[in-house]
């Protein structure tokens, strides 16, 4: 496992005012608290399907998304719950998704945090196939460039996803087209069980940047202010016509790929080491108190508010209705708006259909 190489000692607060510094804390805390709540619900078998954590990676998600405006577009991945919250996703939406509720953002069609909103909050619903969102975001940002809108797009990939053909095609396309796009590699050391050195022979993933003719920056992904700063630079570079930037954020995945993963492949002590020495929230708390004069009480107040928010959302989400079977047939196409129910489900199955041929069956009446 590679360790972060960029020093963060005494970095300035990146032009952020005190309320914003606290907001960053709140988003990280909300991410973690909400995920912990999801774990509890998962253990109660109230979550349908797998549960994916971003424990230890909250700074990557939050710090990078915080660099975007509301009109900018974000394409999150499974470890970007924090980014989605920053971008306006509500805890209740997340809870309803994980519990497959009928009023969840996808009405039960898709899992976990796979949902989007391109009308207002501007994040795009991802699919599972890794890498595919890079070309899609190339197209989103191409549109902004074509229309002369000063909007930016940000797309995440994991260290593992950099191996996909779609990642390569998408970033290359966007680079040639000078799309206002930021590609963030969240290098958390593993792709499922595969360590980064089995994923690539490159010393650093950010070294791919030069091969696409775009600037590349590697940063400490567990320092939320550093993440914010490098992302903000890349976003402004994109917004002002500079095109694509590739960022590599160094972090560590402290939970398994999903909740059921035993992490048997992790060398002994590695998890404990990161938890003890490099937790992004702990590190930020230290800085907030030591450097920016935040006192513990302010943080506790935020923690309490966050817990209350998650509690309230959980109650509402649990009371949400389940999905309604026939709704499954709606909205595949704009037109037709609904697919037909198959013949054996309805009345038609009760009796042999009135297919009678006037002149009798088996007779050639031509």
């Amino acid at each position: 496992m590679t360790v972060p190489t960029t020093s963060n000692a005494m970095a300035p607060p990146a032009g952020l005012a005190r309320p914003q510094l606290l907001e960053l804390y709140r988003w990280m805390r909300l991410t973690r608290t909400l995920e912990e709540r999801l774990v509890a619900l998962y253990r109660q078998t109230k979550v349908t399907g797998g549960l994916f954590r971003s424990l230890g990676q909250e700074a990557c998600a939050v710090g990078s998304a915080y660099a975007l405006e509301r009109r900018d577009v974000l394409s999150p991945l499974i470890r970007n719950l924090g980014s989605m919250l920053v971008k306006g996703a509500e805890p209740i939406e997340i809870l309803r998704q994980y519990m497959a509720k009928g009023d969840s953002p996808t009405r039960g069609r898709e899992l976990n945090i796979h949902f989007g909103d391109v009308v207002d909050r501007n994040f795009v619903g991802q699919i599972s196939h890794l890498g595919d969102m890079v070309p899609v975001m190339a197209g989103v940002t191409l549109t902004f460039r074509m229309r002369g809108e000063d909007r930016v797009g940000l797309v995440y990939v994991g260290d593992g996803a950099t191996s996909t053909g779609a990642f390569h095609e998408g970033i290359n396309f966007a680079a040639v087209q000078r799309c206002p796009m930021v590609v963030v590699i969240e290098n958390n050391g593993y792709a499922y069980s595969t360590p980064t050195n089995r994923q690539t022979a490159a010393a650093r993933l950010v070294d791919k940047a030069i091969g696409y003719g775009v600037p590349g920056v590697r940063a400490d992904g567990n320092d939320v202010l550093e993440v914010y700063r490098v992302t903000k630079d890349a976003v402004e570079h994109a917004r002002t016509g500079g095109g694509v930037t590739l960022l590599e954020l160094m972090t560590y995945r402290r939970k398994g790929h999903a909740e059921h993963d035993s992490q048997s492949y992790v060398p002994p002590g590695e998890l404990e080491h990161w938890a003890a020495t490099n937790d992004p929230i702990d590190r930020y708390v230290t800085r907030l108190t030591a450097e920016f004069g935040v006192d513990a009480g302010e943080l506790t107040a935020i923690d309490d508010e966050v817990r209350a928010t998650v509690d309230a959302a959980t109650d509402v989400a649990e009371a949400s209705p389940p999905c309604d079977g026939p709704d499954a047939l709606r909205g595949v196409y704009a037109n037709p708006a609904e697919m037909p129910v198959l013949w054996y489900r309805g009345e038609a199955s009760r009796a042999v259909a009135a297919h009678e041929r006037p002149a009798g069956w088996g007779t050639h009446d031509g």
């Binding site: 069609r109 796979h114 795009v124 074509m146 998408g170 297919h355």
Partner: protein, 340 residues
């Protein structure tokens, strides 16, 4: 039935109002780009060069580099970028240099594009078009008919016109459609087929088949280049056997026009499905199943298929001719069916 004409001489001088299938596509693209500033084209070599078959010739000069974009050789990125643009209000038209290369965007099309509306309420009105089909000695990688590979992907629409009029009317309909459309242009027809475009804003709606020839003894259900083989066979059968053959040109493969299929079956009671794709796994199976389900009682004979043999399409003329369905095959199979 629109007027149409098959010419074997690519250089044959058209009468005043006639244009080729290829020109019809180009005209359709140009009209839609003119009408709607959100329509733009992207693909390999489609800009100043006008594309490998010149379908977009002149469009960049007319609409600018922003609206006719030369891309890297990246089919997945072309389709993915189109989807992203479509989510934000654009109407992208992607060209695959040959439709054979759509296989490189298979994941993007079937997983991302087709499901976008359903899983995330994302509008995704894109068109993916390109030259398809054989009979041109293109070998296994420049002759494909991949339509059946997309048939079990709800969320996609598939169009495959056979006439110049439909080529224009359907490409315009596809661009205006709010759903993603795969648009196959048979390269054998590009310069061999001519037609007279109806005046005005000529739109041929998706999902509606066309009776290419009326008949009462036997129905041939087909699409694309084999429409012309079927018409040729039908003429011969009329002449030599006195058989009255109806030819149904499906035009749209997804959705299929069940009504038109049922209508022709009820009329003739004997059905031959003809397509250029391999017999196994081609769309003929789906059509046969629908006929079984919707009007089995009207059948006087089994539904039978004339299609390509189950091999990759070889290049040498004697091999390609052997593998692909020919008019003479349709004649033989029709006689069998008529005698059944």
């Amino acid at each position: 039935m629109p007027s149409r004409r098959m010419s074997d001489r690519p250089g044959g001088a058209p009468t005043m109002a006639e244009i080729t299938f290829l020109e019809a596509i180009r005209e359709g693209l140009a009209e839609e780009m003119e009408r709607d500033p959100n329509v733009f084209c992207l693909g390999e070599d489609i800009g100043a060069f006008g594309g490998a078959f010149k379908a977009t010739e002149g469009l960049q000069a007319r609409f600018g580099e922003q609206r006719v974009i030369d891309t890297p050789i990246s089919e997945a990125a072309i389709v993915g970028a189109a989807a992203g643009a479509a989510h934000y209000g654009m109407r992208p038209v992607c060209e695959m240099q040959f439709i054979d290369f759509v296989s490189c965007a298979y994941d993007m099309l079937t997983n991302y594009v087709a499901t976008a509306r359903y899983r995330a309420f994302l509008p995704c009105p894109i068109v993916v078009r390109g030259p398809s089909g054989g009979y041109v000695r293109g070998g296994p990688f420049h002759s494909q008919n991949p339509e059946a590979a997309f048939l079990h992907t709800p969320g996609l629409k598939i169009a495959y016109p056979a006439t110049a009029e439909d080529a224009k009317g359907m490409i315009k309909a596809a661009i205006r459609d709010d759903d993603p459309v795969l648009f196959f242009e048979h390269k054998y027809l590009y310069r061999r087929i001519k037609g007279t475009m109806p005046p005005g804003d000529h739109i041929v709606p998706l999902g509606i088949a066309r009776v290419a020839r009326e008949g009462k003894d036997l129905s041939i259900i087909t699409y694309a280049a084999t429409v012309w083989k079927a018409l040729e066979a039908a003429d011969q059968l009329e002449r030599e056997d006195g058989l009255s053959v109806e030819v149904l040109d499906l035009r749209s493969l997804l959705p299929l026009d069940d009504e038109a299929i049922v209508a022709t079956v009820k009329k003739t009671n004997r059905v031959l499905v003809v397509h250029e794709d391999t017999v196994t796994g081609g769309i003929g199976g789906e059509i046969t199943a629908r006929i079984n389900e919707l009007c089995f009682e009207w059948l006087d004979a089994p539904v039978r298929r004339v299609a390509a043999h189950d091999v990759p399409l070889p290049y040498a003329p004697p091999l390609e001719d052997f593998v692909l369905p020919q008019a003479s095959d349709i004649v033989r199979a029709s006689r069998w069916l008529a005698a059944y």
